[in-house]
Subunit: 315 residues, 2 copies
């Protein structure tokens, strides 16, 4: 049986572009990150990415494919990046074509949250499953959906925008006019703002920096009542969205990653309670609520894995 | 090319069991309905169904398969009906086996809302699509989901329970402990109760019977302000759930059937407004909001069509 080859995984972010080499489930090398904002436009930045990729290929012969995870909308089939709001000049860029022309390697370009879901499905907590929903928590809330053993991309490659789904039809008005979007309640900044307000109500003044998920996890671990309430409230809101995914898709697993998920039992404990109390038997009896295996490397791992599969390799 | 054969479609309800003969997209015959509650238990009722099926086969030679749509949970693969709350004795009944033993025809048993979705997908408003969500509105709110050109059943055949998804994380507590379930706001009885309360607030006393969806549609058509508000409110709540399906699955179409959908533009007008104002481009630019083609015959049409496909016939 032939060995699974190496692949390049690229995690393109508004601050840095991270590039690594994947062997099976492990990144065996990562290049120093590229500072996204140091480049005038797509041409210069793509050139920089190609230089890093070429360096990695010299050090690791046998790289067989390149996968790129991008924020925002991507036409997966054509590999076109439609529009990056935070990176200048990135409008309708045929990134897949550009990279494969420059490297002569099969290349895929996919939404970054889908890459995270892919990493968990193929290499992480969701291995072997056919129906799962992966959620990544940070400043924004993203996700990816696997149904019938296939990634769900939808008709315009937009599927998986879990953070934009509503938990309150009369709720806060979000970036797209959508009311009650989960992201507008449990994004890092919203958690911090809600926590500060709760502290203030309890007569305690906190800087917003002391209300980060990490600080709130630390406080809750030390028995801070307000922080515990914050985590319960975050869990209650997340449980609503997850419950909706369960009633709609009846998945085997929900996988949660990203910064907020690092709170561990502080989040997963009340989340399990709020979620399972709102589902009937067939929806919860075979449901696992799982922390993600991968952290900040998920995008690279998922993109590289997807690239290998699309190039026809077993992973 | 061989002709698509005839098939039997059964729509099993708590009041009646309806059995018809499908040819392509049309029911060419339907038997007088069986009164579900007239039978002591599953054995007697299944015998009655078999007698009707045999009669129809005598009149229509060439029937090639049987499909049954059932309320509640069904194990599609094994064809087992887990539990009917409204029909005595129906616990863990291997209906597929029983019917195929008695008729020697390939048989499938599926959830009734999935059958409705199947009918719309294969024979109705969703023909040729690969990504759609079908919703049926009545006393309850059900649905079915098609993703990547396949029915979504999930790991325990429970998928598509759109009426149980939440529109308000602090909302009304539903039958399964779930808060804010759509069905608890826009089921027929809830619409009627909300309408009566709105009329009362406006100083108008109405019987609950005068607040049926049909009566409210009639009133709204005649310019009744309260009734128009009721429809706008129903649309606003439904738009939230539909929007969630869009952000999550990016479908090509949402298809709405059942009694409430008969309100036509009174519902679809405000629904389109509330829905499209809460979606970004890729989610709405290729989205169609469509009335179902089939009415009360959807279950029979979908079950029979599914039976033919599962038996290997092109439909």
């Amino acid at each position: 049986m032939s060995e699974t080859p190496l692949a390049i995984g690229v995690d393109f972010g508004g601050t840095t572009v991270k590039i690594g080499v994947l062997y099976r489930s492990n990144l065996i090398d990562t290049a120093p990150p590229i500072a996204t904002q140091d480049y005038e436009g797509p041409d210069e930045l793509i050139d920089a990415m190609v230089r890093v990729i070429n360096d990695l290929r010299e050090q690791h012969p046998g790289i067989a494919a390149i996968g790129v995870g991008m924020p925002g909308f991507v036409n997966f089939e054509e590999g076109i990046v439609h529009n990056l709001t935070n990176v200048r000049g990135w409008v309708e860029i045929p990134l897949k074509q550009r990279l494969s022309d420059a490297t002569l390697l099969p290349t895929v370009v996919e939404n970054d949250a889908n890459c995270m879901a892919y990493a968990e499905w193929k290499r992480g907590s969701g291995r072997g499953l056919n129906h799962l929903v992966a959620i990544t928590m940070g400043t924004g809330v993203g996700g990816g959906v696997i149904v019938n053993g296939k990634m769900v991309r939808g008709c315009q490659y937009g599927a998986g925008e879990i953070g934009q789904t509503s938990i309150d039809y009369q709720g806060r008005v979000g970036a797209y006019g959508n009311k009650g979007a989960l992201e507008d309640y449990v994004g890092n900044n919203e958690i911090a703002a809600d926590a500060r307000a709760r502290y203030e109500q309890a007569g305690i003044y906190k800087n917003i920096a002391d209300c980060s998920p990490a600080a709130l996890a630390n406080a809750a671990t030390n028995g801070d009542e307000v922080a515990l309430q914050v985590w319960d409230d975050v869990a209650r809101k997340m449980a609503t969205t997850i419950m909706n995914c369960c009633w709609l898709l009846n998945p085997e697993a929900i996988i949660i990653g990203g910064g907020v998920a690092k709170a561990g039992d502080l989040l997963f404990g009340p989340l399990q309670t709020h979620l399972f109390s709102q589902l009937s038997g067939p929806f919860k009896d075979h449901l696992s609520l799982l922390p993600a295996r991968f952290g900040s490397e998920a995008g690279m791992v998922g993109a590289a894995t997807l690239a290998l599969e699309e190039a026809g390799f077993a992973v």
